[in-house]
């Protein structure tokens, strides 16, 4: 089950040429168990378009997307309840704070579950669980969402999607606009959720440090096609990085420089700063 892209192409109508191919020939499988995928690519490579197919917000022009057994094709199928798909695949857009609209945080988080026909009591329970899941306490529930700080708003809006309890979670650049500490807090949150619930999580990001540090699987997009699907280590050890206009994580870059400059036998593939420092110390002890 899960999500399967079968030779998917999506064209947007445009003025200059007849249509613009945002993604083409996409073949991709996403399971429901334990996946933790980073979706990366240069600007305009089609990441957001790909993400929008995952919860049937948009349909493929060619090919089909199979989501939990439902075959999504370019024509609308009366037998498929597209809204139900959004209950199983939760999509969080960039700057989700802008979707807040209710009088209290609790009501806003309850919006999702109640749209999917949960009763008010059930929705309240789900809201309570969700607010804890994002690291905030119950006192937030009765507050006005517009009186929260930017970071708190972000968490509340993510809670809004978590309360729906989707099996697959897709997030489009959730850490954009945050400082390094904010980024880490949020990414630790997602790792936490992933470990606690075992849900599959797909995150679109530009941040190579995050990719290296947190993810098991990386899908790279270039000009609308998938150019790599594998582990971050495989990715950074190959030449694909340059071909795809991507950057290396800072740890690798710094260690590479030190390795070349001082001619040391360093293993440059360290995921976080602390490990990099340990590696440098280890090598220095030999010298």
């Amino acid at each position: 089950m899960g999500i399967r892209f079968k030779n998917v192409t999506h064209e947007y109508p445009s003025y200059s040429k007849k249509t613009y191919k945002a993604i083409q020939g996409i073949n991709l499988n996403i399971g429901t168990d334990d996946e933790y995928i980073a979706l990366i690519g240069h600007t305009g490579s089609g990441k957001s378009t790909l993400a929008k197919h995952m919860n049937a917000l948009i349909f493929p022009t060619l090919g089909e997307v199979e989501i939990f057994g439902n075959n999504i094709k370019s024509k609308r199928d009366k037998n498929i309840n597209y809204n139900n798909i959004r209950k199983r695949v939760g999509l969080v857009f960039q700057f989700p704070e802008y979707q807040l609209f209710e009088e209290t945080v609790e009501k806003d988080i309850m919006f999702g579950p109640m749209n999917f026909k949960k009763s008010e009591e059930e929705a309240k329970k789900l809201a309570l669980e969700a607010i804890h899941l994002v690291g905030l306490d119950e006192t937030y529930l009765k507050r006005n969402p517009f009186n929260l700080s930017g970071g708190e708003k972000k968490r509340v809006s993510i809670a809004g999607i978590l309360a729906i309890d989707p099996e697959i979670l897709v997030l489009d650049e959730p850490t954009s606009g945050l400082d390094p500490e904010g980024k880490q807090t949020l990414m630790d949150l997602f790792s936490d959720i992933h470990k606690k619930t075992g849900k599959s999580i797909i995150i679109i990001t530009h941040d190579m440090d995050l990719v290296y540090r947190y993810f098991k699987r990386v899908v790279v997009m270039k000009d609308g096609r998938i150019s790599f699907d594998g582990t971050p280590d495989e990715l950074f050890k190959s030449d694909i990085i340059e071909e795809n206009h991507l950057d290396l994580p800072n740890t690798i870059k710094v260690l590479s420089y030190i390795k070349d400059k001082f001619n040391l036998d360093i293993n440059i593939y360290q995921k976080i700063a602390e490990e990099a420092v340990q590696e440098i110390n280890r090598v220095m002890e030999y010298e």
């Binding site: 809204n83 959004r86 209950k87 802008y98 979707q99 807040l100 609209f101």
Partner: protein, 321 residues
């Protein structure tokens, strides 16, 4: 969805694109008054002839103008029918008794269903509509079987047909004139033209500059607001807000989930824009210079002369007949 083009400005070359917007606005105004001064179909026909010649000189695609008329096609049909039905002067052209009985009503429903089914083909929609109307007419005219519960005499008078053609033609000319205006003038130029023309109103306290600024800013943000509405709808749809189905109460909630964020973003943006403008020393009410100054050229003079002649001509026609 593509961004909406207000008034459907399409860039191009030619005579109309080179005119000062003020000339165009005033010309269209006087031409519209002239058209309303005309009294019979012959005069209107001459006016249309002149209009077509001008369109050809100005290298405006008549096709594009006709496309712009599509939305009000239904309005034209209704106007025509209204005039024909209500006017009762002159010689009788046709008098038909329409029979409303169980059979004719049933067959009319069948005709309706057939029409809707045929529409699924997608083509010939207008033609199918006319066939539908004709079919209904023959149906009620000739199917007089059984107990009649209502009968209606549909009389078409000569004057009725004449008036309806007249009214429809006049409507066509007016709409063509305004289409030419919006087709060949950028919204910002149009605003600038109106601002300049309304400048004298400053004396009675109406500041045309502020008014024009409000319009320009609104126009500029229409595509932006449209994109944002799409984003918010996508976000709320991902939370299960199905904008197409649901009871009334649910639909209200969904609309609110779209409107509240839009308003908030609009207010945030207004404040930011105001700050940005003030940082660049914008003070409302103070005199400002422009980067694009509207200038008249010889083309404007020729046009003004031509329009004035047309206007005087129609007044004379009216006075002398």
């Amino acid at each position: 969805m593509n961004s909406i083009i207000i008034g459907q400005y399409i860039p191009g070359k030619g005579f109309f694109y080179k005119l000062d917007p003020r000339t165009k606005i005033l010309s269209i105004l006087f031409l519209m008054i002239s058209v309303f001064l005309l009294e019979n179909i012959t005069q209107l026909a001459i006016a249309i002839g002149i209009a077509i010649i001008i369109l050809i000189i100005g290298k405006i695609s008549i096709l594009k103008v006709l496309k712009g008329l599509k939305p009000i096609f239904v309005l034209l049909i209704f106007t025509f029918i209204f005039q024909v039905a209500l006017n009762s002067e002159g010689a009788i052209l046709s008098s038909a008794l329409l029979h409303f009985n169980i059979f004719s009503v049933l067959t009319s429903i069948v005709i309706f269903i057939i029409w809707r089914l045929l529409l699924q083909i997608g083509k010939f929609k207008i033609l199918l509509f006319f066939i539908f109307v004709l079919a209904l007419y023959f149906n009620f005219r000739y199917l007089s079987i059984g107990q009649e519960f209502y009968s209606f005499r549909l009389t078409i008078y000569e004057k009725g047909v004449e008036m309806s053609i007249f009214v429809v033609l006049r409507l066509l000319i007016i709409i063509t004139l305004t289409t030419i205006l919006t087709l060949t003038t950028k919204p910002t130029d149009l605003t600038q033209g109106m601002e300049s023309l309304m400048h004298p109103l400053k004396k009675i306290g109406f500041n045309s500059e502020d008014f024009a600024l409000i319009i320009s800013i609104s126009l500029r943000y229409i595509p932006t607001i449209f994109d944002e509405a799409q984003k918010i709808m996508a976000a709320q749809a991902s939370r299960g807000a199905d904008f197409s189905e649901g009871k009334l109460k649910d639909k209200m909630k969904q609309i609110i989930s779209l409107l509240v964020p839009m308003f908030i973003i609009a207010f945030i943006r207004s404040e930011e824009l105001a700050d940005a403008m003030e940082s660049r020393n914008f003070v409302p009410g103070e005199k400002r210079t422009r980067i694009n100054i509207l200038r008249f050229s010889m083309i404007d003079v020729y046009s003004a002369v031509f329009i004035t002649l047309c206007f005087i001509g129609t007044i004379l026609l009216r006075v002398m007949t």
